[in-house]
């Protein structure tokens, strides 16, 4: 009897692993930056090449840092959701304009609405590398000390906002209140 049970058991274990694997997205890479402060940077803002912005300018009880670019199709997809978060829910969103062209980016914001408090202009993608960016859009959740609590790779939707961000923000703000 055991002769048949052992292979059957091994088969089930293997099937289990493969089955779980079916539902995993191999393009998602866990970020080692969760729990760590955002990388320091100093660059110009998108709208004003003469105005300097650094990591210390990201303030608030919590904030989102959204990596986007005009060449990124999925960024256009999530843009309405960002505008909704910013206008209806007063979510502070900082933009990281990643490897983009300044004029087209400004133009885009005029055309589709500007959900950003301010935009960090990362022309050559150096700041993106420090943030571990590998595919726009990406959205980071940081607390008042600039610690990264969550990272979303892919399109932001109201549903993802509710499920992934709201609980974490409640955690952050309740800790901050104590």
């Amino acid at each position: 009897m055991i002769r048949f049970l052992i292979p059957a058991f091994l088969f089930l274990v293997l099937t289990g692993f493969l089955f779980v694997g079916l539902y995993k997205d191999p393009s998602l890479i866990p970020s080692p930056l969760i729990g760590k402060p955002i990388p320091s940077f100093a660059t110009s803002t998108l709208r004003d090449p003469n105005k300097v912005i650094t990591d210390r300018d990201i303030q608030g009880d919590y904030a989102l840092i959204n990596v986007w670019a005009t060449w990124c199709a999925a960024c256009k997809q999530e843009h309405a959701a960002l505008v909704y978060l910013s206008e209806k829910l007063q979510v502070p969103i900082y933009g990281l304009n990643y490897k983009d062209d300044r004029a087209s980016a400004i133009n885009w914001l005029q055309q589709y609405g500007d959900p950003y408090v301010v935009n960090i202009f990362d022309e050559n993608g150096r700041i993106g590398i420090d943030f571990g960016v590998y595919g726009a859009p990406e959205t980071f959740l940081v607390d008042s000390d600039g610690i990264i609590h969550h990272k979303l790779v892919g399109v932001m939707t109201p549903d993802i906002w509710e499920k992934q961000f709201v609980p974490k923000i409640q955690q952050i703000t309740s800790v901050a209140a104590k």
Partner: protein
Amino acid sequence: MNKALIFIFMLFLSLLSVSNAQIISVSPEYQERYDHLLHELRCLVCQNQTVAESPADLSNDLRVEVKEMLERGATDQEILDFMSDRYGDFVLYNPPVKPRTYLLWIGPFLLLIGGVIFALMLVKRRSNNVVDNELNENEKRRLKGLLDEDDKEK
């Protein structure tokens, strides 16, 4: 002759598979380390390609980063740490040994040991099952009788 021609045309086909990664010139003094490091790094937006082979934009940026770190005098380890601090162990083709990767490193050896034990068990069971082939006295006599009968018939 024909075979030679076909072979030559096949060679041309294989050229197509050569990567179209953008080439960044590095000073010869760093070339060897540069090539080695790029083969240690995984392209983040492709499925299973090294940064050295990948034509992706991000890989290109990482190549530039590696080149500039080399020029600033960073050690190989510093460069690999720089990458894994930002992109996680995923970016390393040679993952470090730590609790999360124990199974990855030890798994194949466990499978090997399991296989050896299984094989030994099989061999042992077979050798127990071997039937005694020797004939006993009675059988020998009978065999001899049969053979003799056979001879007489000829």
